[in-house]
């Protein structure tokens, strides 16, 4: 529902006043906006990147058409992504007085089925996934509740509790869910020191990777004398496999803005930069829209809510490089230079953007602030471990049964993450490893599943939590390929300042390429050379770790080292037997002809560019392995599927 339902004055009253001072009509409006009450049926189509990719726009139009054809009195709208990717696109249906039900996947074809059923108050059960609990609503029989779904029951959804419920493009709906109350309370009733103190008590640690205590960082900036201080909200997230930060911008952009505003007040920064990833225009559009709504309500700008506090928020799009996420590189980017990190100290909180004290905080860190202020540090500490309070949002992907955006309490074991929430490996395959932390992270095998996910345990085990990307791998993944994937990324993204990182990562990649490709003809010491290469990998990795300036080089070799330690036999197979057991390194495949299936049609022999296929017409043919270059043309050519690989 849009702000038209709530005018500017009402919105400002609701934000600023305690619930007891709000009029009856305003209370009613809030009930409607929270969907606690509806007078006509409501249909909401989920709107997120996975929903779009799965065709949510087509579903939306099909519903709109159905409504107008049948002249229904129905409210059709959007809600944000639910963080469960399996059954997109989702459609939520809420009939007056009844609980809200989620259906999925809803393709345009089954729209009439669901809507027919809905009009007749008979829900087609086979598409219903779950219903939401609400004491004001009468539940449906036979539909499980949201919190009974194992994927959700294993999580603790605090920060993400509104995901999938409200419309991210509506500031009114955010306000109806206590939005901006924390910020306005902060600037009206608390000093900046109070806020810092509260955050200190909550024990909030930075989610950007290193887990640095947020209040301590703020304190440094607060104590540094300067006429101007800056806050940078780091939402760059250029880890190629993570989507949590983008999801926050996209699903509750107003909470991001509220968090940013609270932090700016605590630090004494009147200027904030929200630094977003340019490659994702969708999340950028969402936050841009939200910023304009917030400005219209006077939540940014001059003298906010008569508190005397001024705040200017500017959206900056990164120009696309992994290193832009590193804080000093980011600052260089903002100043119009190459994103190259510099030596620390001085830390940005003392000397940052334009030489002024600058706090760089990750967007998820800031996303925690409204809750900490609304419910207090003690409430916040009820979840998590004493050392790492609160929850962590992760992107859980890979070969699991269930995947998506999950929120877990710190202290959860990786095993619970994989089996309880992720539902285990799909298709009955075996778990092999999980990769955590993206390019800065590492692989963890079976033994590591007992590890608890919190900053202390991870630091003791030498693991970098990074951005919160978790990718689970099964027996069909080749660990050499995994290592090669991340090294390729690192060697492309190394900024080039430190030679060990720039050149070393390339040499490491060369070595991995050599063992996952066929040897060149006539190289007699090949296996020996390749074996030596792997020995070199380890020493090269140590040098890069020891001599690089920034976190990119310091963590870059970790994925390689961890796979080498855990899956050495796979490396050895690649080297000595030229075999990739998972069949991923296609260059190592050898082709052969199945004698039974071959009809001797000669098609493959004619196409073979190196004449490696011989035989007599109408008899089974044969591939000479030594001549074969593994181009695969024969396999494509064969009409009888007689060419196979091993």
């Amino acid at each position: 529902m849009s702000l038209q339902a709530m005018n500017r004055e009402t919105a400002r009253r609701i934000i600023a006043l305690p619930p007891s001072k709000i009029t009856r009509e305003e209370q009613d409006l809030l009930l409607l906006l929270r969907r606690d009450r509806c007078t006509i049926p409501v249909i909401l189509v989920s709107e997120s990147r996975p929903a779009r990719v799965s065709g949510s726009n087509a579903t939306y139009s099909a519903i709109a058409d159905y409504i107008s054809e049948n002249n229904l009195s129905v409210e059709l709208g959007r809600c944000s992504g639910k963080g469960f990717q399996q059954n997109e696109p989702f459609v939520d249906v809420q009939l007056p007085g009844k609980s809200r039900v989620t259906f999925g996947p809803v393709s345009p074809e089954i729209v009439p089925l669901i809507l027919d059923g809905m009009i007749n108050k008979a829900i087609p059960m086979e598409y219903a996934l779950w219903q939401y609990r609400n004491p004001m609503h009468e539940p449906w029989d036979g539909v499980p509740f949201f919190d009974e779904i194992p994927y959700f029951s294993g999580q603790v959804r605090k920060l993400t509790r509104n995901f999938g419920l409200s419309d991210p493009a509506s500031v009114a709906e955010y306000i109806a869910r206590d939005g901006y109350k924390a910020f306005v309370k902060a600037i009206s009733n608390y000093t900046a020191a109070d806020i810092t103190e509260l955050v200190e008590q909550s024990g909030l640690r930075g989610r950007g990777g290193a887990g640095y205590p947020t209040a301590q960082k703020w304190q440094v900036a607060r104590n540094t004398l300067s006429d101007q201080k800056y806050l940078i909200c780091n939402a760059d997230e250029s880890d190629p496999g993570a989507f949590t930060d983008k999801a926050l911008l996209e699903r509750e952009p107003h909470k991001v803005i509220e968090g940013v505003a609270i932090a700016a007040y605590a630090i004494g920064a009147s200027m904030v930069f929200i630094y977003v990833n340019a490659s994702d225009s969708y999340s950028t559009d969402c936050i841009e829209h939200a910023l304009s709504e917030a400005a219209a309500l006077g939540l940014t700008g001059e003298n906010i809510f008569d508190s005397g506090f001024n705040l200017k928020v500017q959206l900056v799009r990164s120009a696309g490089a992994y290193i832009c996420g590193e804080e000093t590189a980011l600052i260089n980017n903002l100043q119009g230079k190459r994103a190259i990190p510099r030596q620390k100290p001085p830390y940005p909180s003392e000397k940052g953007l334009f030489g002024k004290p600058t706090v760089v905080n990750n967007v998820e860190t800031l996303f925690n602030l409204p809750d900490i202020l609304n419910y207090g540090p003690q409430w916040y500490r009820n979840t998590g471990t004493p050392d790492s309070p609160g929850t962590k949002i992760l992107s859980l992907t890979g070969k699991l049964k269930y995947q998506g955006l999950v929120e877990v309490p710190f202290g959860i074991t990786l095993n619970d993450l994989v089996t309880k929430i992720g539902g285990g490996i799909r298709n009955g395959k075996q778990f092999k490893a999980l990769q955590i932390g993206g390019p800065a992270g590492r692989c963890i095998g079976h033994e590591g599943l007992q590890l608890k996910l919190d900053y202390k345990t991870f630091a003791e085990a030498g693991i970098f939590l990074g951005s919160g990307g978790v990718v689970v791998l099964d027996e069909e993944n080749c660990m050499v390929d995994v290592a090669r994937y991340f090294l390729r990324f690192i060697s492309r993204e190394s900024c080039g300042k430190c030679i060990p990182c720039r050149e070393g990562s390339r040499r490491m990649l060369d070595i991995l390429n050599a063992i996952s490709h066929r040897p060149e003809q006539g190289a007699s010491h090949e296996p020996l050379e390749r074996f030596k290469g792997v020995m070199t990998l380890e020493s090269l990795a140590e040098v890069i770790k020891d001599t690089s300036l920034c976190g990119l080089g310091k963590t870059a070799p970790d994925t390689v080292l961890s796979t080498l330690r855990l899956f050495r036999e796979e490396y050895e197979e690649h080297i000595f037997e030229r075999k990739c057991r998972a069949g991923v390194c296609t260059d190592l495949q050898t082709y052969y002809i199945d004698m039974e299936a071959c009809t001797g049609c000669t098609a493959c022999a004619k196409k073979c560019p190196v004449n490696a296929i011989i035989g007599t017409p109408r008899q089974p043919f044969f591939i000479i392995e030594q001549k074969c270059t593994g181009c695969g043309i024969c396999m494509e050519t064969c009409k009888f599927s007689a060419v196979k690989t091993r």
């Binding site: 997120s48 990147r49 996975p50 779009r52 990719v53 799965s54 065709g55 990717q85 399996q86 997109e88 250029s238 880890d239 190629p240 496999g241 993570a242 989507f243 983008k246 999801a247 340019a278 490659s279 994702d280 900056v316 799009r317 990164s318 120009a319 696309g320 490089a321 980017n333 903002l334 100043q335 119009g336 230079k337 190459r338 994103a339 992107s395 992907t397 890979g398 070969k399 269930y402 995947q403 998506g404 990769q435 993206g438 990307g469 990718v471 791998l473 993944n477 390929d481 995994v482 994937y485 900024c495 991923v584 296609t586």
Partner: protein, 161 residues
Amino acid sequence: MANNENSRRMNDILKQFRPDHREDLIPCMQAVQDREGYISDDSMAAIGAHFGIPAIKVYGLATFYDYFTFAPVSGDVVRICNGTSCHMMGAGKLISEAEKIKQTGAGKGRSRFTLKICECQGACSAGPVMDVNGKSYIRVKPEEVRSITEKSLGREKGGEG
């Protein structure tokens, strides 16, 4: 004249950015990239002149970032996600397949297309994902890449080149 037209467009962009503020340089380059689709040598010179820095410096900066391209791209774009999850689900094979198809062109008119490899699209569970001119395909198998591109680019190449 086309040339005047170009420089007028360029000036329209440039005047939104403050010449004496180096921090406006990258947003300005992004604006040019968004508007023109790439940064030409002429644009590079114009940007340099606006900010009072040599064009070669602008070029150096632009090559550091992935955002910028230096040649116009053909109309058809095939994008394949090679984010971590998609890669682990086999996106590598889609890419090599697409590269093969690219060599001959796709569809009836054998149209050439631009192959773009991108990072996580946030839809990992539907991976590997690819899209052709903005239309998404999910859970793509290597053997489907050809039919998807051929079908999407099947129309005869029209007059616009």
